[in-house]
């Protein structure tokens, strides 16, 4: 017979997303039945979102260390050394479920949340990116979702004055009922000004700053850990509204306070708000925390402890200050017009103790909420290796040029300008490479160094072969950084999957991570932060496995960088890497032959590394400034993108057999370089010395693209189909 506190039943426990078993463990830990507030606190701390109960076992196997790593997973964001006493701070986070329910606010608060994770650590955010997945463009909800999400991301980031410099967008019917909105922020901090979240000492003041607490998003964390069904609309009132104005003030106020030495620990209030922030600070610092909830600034009257602890109101932070610094800190927050309240103390009890109206309303050992959280080694099954797509499954198209136009105007390859022109990508005046390139480049303010940043994953590869797909996602991020001339440093991830309680989905997760880990190790590209979003399913239909990778690299001298644009007539086009004509899982197969089968292109990590290092060296030595990696759509698409960016055409030479495989195959570890004619021999011989395959592809020039001197595809037609898709398909008037 299970024991319940007054007013709580087995149904209450279930509604909190806790299993009978988990409830049993809570009883054991507490030595008594938890009251309603305590149950709420356990439910959010033990939710998938906060406890990583299905994923933790596998996350541990990812590579997270390296000489460049200052702080790996476990803090609000990861930190890497970028030289000169500075560091880059970054993380990616999902806001999938809220964005499906209310696209504008869901996406906006996602951006707000990830920026807080970065400035909590003392860094000024310098770049935002976003990785987005939507359903079928023809699906009735897609237009509304795309417009709302894009407007929300812009609405928040633009107001904050942080440039949104890149990201990615895909469309696939598997996201019809579960869009993905993953937001990434990169910040820069002086290494001696980094702040962490571990509380220290006993009797130190716990301080609440930012916005007031309302009844927003109560149970957001558990919502993010539940599957959708057709009744999800009922969960609507839990949506939070973002206030970027307040967040901008919070950013400036926090950085002003951080310039001094008043802060012992600081933690943003994200998912599970006051609960997870106080528990995490206590747990990391191995102290207890006692809060007086009467002091919590509330937006509404009559808010109960349960609501205050579970509210996900935005734009709030929790800090532990050195004793005696409260008034100096308060003056700063007063100046910025923000709430400031001392709401508690650190203690030596090891408990989270909550007082409200002179009563103890909750008293939980902190370890019970963290260490004791369940960890599941969920059963999983391996995804069967798909058969390689037979050549006759993908015959040559009637017209190569027409096929190129189809691809360039297809949802996954069309220009994303319609999206990124809604983002302020030039504020802060340090955007050296904005959206539209391989990786964005942001100058580190006041220096001649830059950070290169990208987000990548190819979900259709992950679906077909999760291990290969996991490798490829990492390899592509690394390659995009390399293509602009950057030295890749580290990555963050956002692991979006379906229901982990299904062995097939859990298997996708396990195998994608295995591929990612292998690639991270092989490329010296550790994972320093990330986020897991599971249960992305509606009515049993899971999304494609989508482990989005956010990559960060450094360019030590901005004079030595590359962009995608072709520059000059007469330049020679070179392909670096071996072109084998792999059409399985290619966009050519999907868009021209409506086939989504076959094995994805294999990734050879040693080759990846060798080819990439060679290309980076070419850029560093000034032998080329025009480089593009070859990914979705293959070589012809890569050249077309370079031509459009530069406004110059090109004439390509291709083999006469399997020409379409050569042009549209998606073999990995490849780049296109445009070089001055006098550099060609030098590059080819150095490539040979480095055992890197390199070949002449053709020449730059003309007003269109030709293959083997055939009929030209004019750049103007190409531009029209490429730029037109979003405006015509997705533009809505409001």
């Amino acid at each position: 017979m299970t024991a319940f506190a007054e007013g709580i039943s087995a149904a209450t426990v279930r509604e909190h997303g806790l299993t009978e078993d988990e409830y049993g463990q809570i009883l054991k830990r507490m030595g008594r039945p938890p009251n309603y507030t305590e149950l709420g606190i356990f439910s959010v701390m033990w939710s998938e979102h906060c406890s990583y109960k299905s994923s933790r076992r596998w996350l541990k196997e990812l590579p997270t260390t390296g000489a460049q790593v200052i702080c790996g997973p476990g803090e609000n964001a990861g930190i890497v050394d970028i030289g000169d006493g500075q560091a880059a701070v970054f993380k990616m986070e999902s806001h999938n479920h809220p964005s499906f329910i209310e696209p504008y606010q869901g996406a906006a608060t996602g951006v707000g949340g990830i920026m807080r994770d970065v400035f909590t650590m003392g860094a000024r955010p310098v770049a935002n990116l976003n990785a987005l997945r939507f359903g079928d463009p023809a699906h009735e909800k897609t237009r509304h979702l795309v417009s709302g999400v894009v407007a929300g991301i812009g609405g928040y980031g633009n107001c904050m004055g942080v440039p949104t410099v890149g990201g990615e967008v895909n469309f696939h019917p598997s996201y019809n009922g579960n869009i993905l909105v993953n937001a990434m922020t990169v910040g820069v901090v002086d290494q001696d000004k980094i702040f962490y979240s571990a509380a220290k000492g006993v009797g130190n003041p716990v301080v609440y700053v930012g916005s007031k607490t309302g009844r927003d998003g109560i149970h957001g964390a558990t919502m993010a850990s539940a599957e959708f069904d057709d009744n999800s609309d009922e969960k609507r009132p839990t949506v939070q509204v973002g206030d970027p104005f307040t967040e901008k003030l919070l950013l400036e106020a926090c950085l002003e306070l951080m310039a001094g030495d008043a802060i012992i620990a600081i933690q943003d209030m994200g998912a599970a708000g006051l609960t997870s922030s106080s528990v995490e600070m206590a747990s990391k610092g191995e102290v207890g925390i006692e809060l007086n909830l009467d002091q919590v600034p509330c937006r509404e009257t009559g808010m109960q402890p349960y609501e205050m602890m579970l509210s996900e109101s935005q734009e709030r932070m929790l800090m532990v200050l050195h004793p005696g610094r409260q008034e100096a800190a308060r003056a700063i927050f007063d100046k910025w017009g923000l709430d400031f309240a001392v709401i508690g103390l650190t203690t030596n009890t090891g408990h989270l103790t909550l007082n409200y109206q002179d009563e103890v309303v909750a008293d939980i050992p902190v370890e019970g909420l963290t260490e004791d959280a369940p960890i599941y080694d969920r059963p999983w099954t391996s995804t069967p290796k798909p058969a390689t797509l037979k050549a006759d499954a993908c015959p040559p198209p009637d017209d190569l040029g027409a096929a190129l136009l189809t691809l360039m105007g297809s949802p996954d390859l069309a220009s994303r300008r319609w999206i990124w022109e809604q983002y302020d990508h030039s504020v802060m005046a340090d955007t050296v490479g904005g959206p539209g390139g391989d990786a964005a480049i942001v100058r580190i303010h006041g220096t001649n160094k830059g950070l290169a940043i990208t987000t990548d994953v190819t979900p259709r590869y992950c679906q077909a072969d999760p291990i290969e797909g996991g490798r490829q996602a990492v390899a592509e991020a690394w390659r995009n950084l390399t293509a602009v001339g950057a030295t890749p440093l580290a990555m963050t991830d956002c692991l979006n999957f379906g229901n982990p309680e299904r062995p097939r989905i859990m298997g996708q997760f396990v195998e994608c991570l295995s591929g990612m880990g292998e690639a991270g190790r092989a490329l010296d590209f550790p994972i320093v932060s990330g986020n897991v979003s599971l249960y992305n399913e509606t009515n049993g239909e899971a999304i494609l496995p989508t482990p989005a990778i956010g990559g960060v690299g450094v360019i030590r001298d901005l004079a030595k960088r590359a962009h995608v644009a072709l520059e000059e007539t007469g330049d020679v086009l070179l392909a670096v890497g071996k072109t084998g004509g792999h059409l399985g899982q290619s966009l050519f197969a999907r868009e021209i032959h409506a086939r989504e089968d076959g094995a994805p292109p294999p990734v050879d990590l040693a080759t990846e590394r060798r080819n990439g290092n060679f290309v980076r060296t070419c850029i560093e030595k000034g032998m080329t400034t025009s480089v593009h990696d070859i990914s979705d759509g293959g070589l012809y698409v890569a050249v077309a993108e370079m031509a459009l960016a530069g406004g110059i055409g090109a004439a390509l030479e291709a083999p006469h057999t399997n020409t379409h495989g050569f042009l549209f195959g998606e073999d990995q570890a490849r780049y296109v370089l445009a070089v001055r004619p006098d550099q060609v021999d030098r590059i080819l011989s150095q490539a040979q010395d480095a055992s890197v395959p390199a070949q002449i592809l053709g020449h730059v020039g003309g007003a269109g693209l030709t293959v083997n001197a055939g009929r030209a595809v004019s750049l103007s037609t190409l531009r029209e189909v490429h730029e037109g898709w979003f405006a015509t398909t997705l533009s809505t008037r409001t």
Binding site: A151, G154, G155, N158, C159, M160, G161, D243, P244, F245, T246, K248, L249, K335, W336, G337, W420, E421, Q422, Y423, D424, H425, S426, V427, M428, A429, D430, T431, V432, R443, L558, R733, T734
Partner: protein, 219 residues
């Protein structure tokens, strides 16, 4: 040259314009909106951003901030004022320039580099440009759709006060207006961001001439 940049809550181009001024040899002082006094200055800059979140109307609350009383006083005595983007919105809300900046006709925020024609190079802001010069300079705004009644527009045109005009209207502005000055030519409001156009590494450099013009005129 002495300059002041006014910082409102959620200004976000204050640093960018300060960097630009610094580069031109003018050392800017940052002045908080809550101040009631300004130091001696040759130029006041109202920077871009989202003062007060652009809530209610862009620039509306900033135009009523305490420091604005002093800005109005100085402006009336002839101290030059440059309002960029949100700064332009604040200038119209404060009544220092006529008209209003409404939501872009396409309703979306627009960030891109646009072509603008310098319609009047006989101002302290544009002397380093040639008359009719086409410059390329970024815009980044949601509310840049300039509106004024026909009479006002005719006056502006007649008095040469339309200083900058879009070549290809991005936001629905009346008569393609991108920037105007007051009667005496001492106050310029413009939607494009010259401070983001001073360094070849980050884009075009056509914004530089504006700062050079000011340095030359006010040194």
């Amino acid at each position: 040259m002495k300059t002041c940049v006014i910082v409102f809550p959620a200004s976000n181009c204050d640093r960018d314009v300060a960097v630009a001024l610094e580069k031109m040899g003018a050392s800017p002082k940052m002045v908080w909106h809550g101040e009631t006094d300004l130091p001696a200055t040759d130029l006041i800059v109202l920077p871009g951003g989202f003062s007060y979140g652009d809530y209610l109307r862009s620039g509306a609350m900033a135009a009523r901030a305490p420091i604005m009383r002093e800005v109005l006083k100085r402006a009336s005595k002839g101290t030059p004022v440059l309002g960029i983007c949100n700064g332009f919105q604040i200038l119209t809300e404060a009544g220092l320039l006529p008209g209003a900046l409404m939501r872009n006709a396409g309703l979306k925020f627009i960030c891109k580099t646009v072509a603008v024609t310098v319609e009047n190079n006989e101002t302290i802001f544009t002397a380093r440009h040639t008359q009719g010069q086409h410059i390329h300079i970024p815009i980044a705004h949601h509310d840049g759709n300039y509106f004024a009644d026909e009479d006002t527009l005719d006056h502006l045109e007649g008095e040469g006060r339309v200083v900058l005009r879009y070549d290809d209207n991005p936001n629905g502005s009346a008569r393609n207006i991108a920037g105007i000055v007051n009667k005496s030519g001492t106050i310029l409001g413009m939607m494009p961001h010259p401070e983001r156009s001073i360094d070849p590494l980050t884009g075009t450099c056509d914004g530089k001439a504006l700062f050079e013009s000011l340095v030359e005129a006010l040194a």
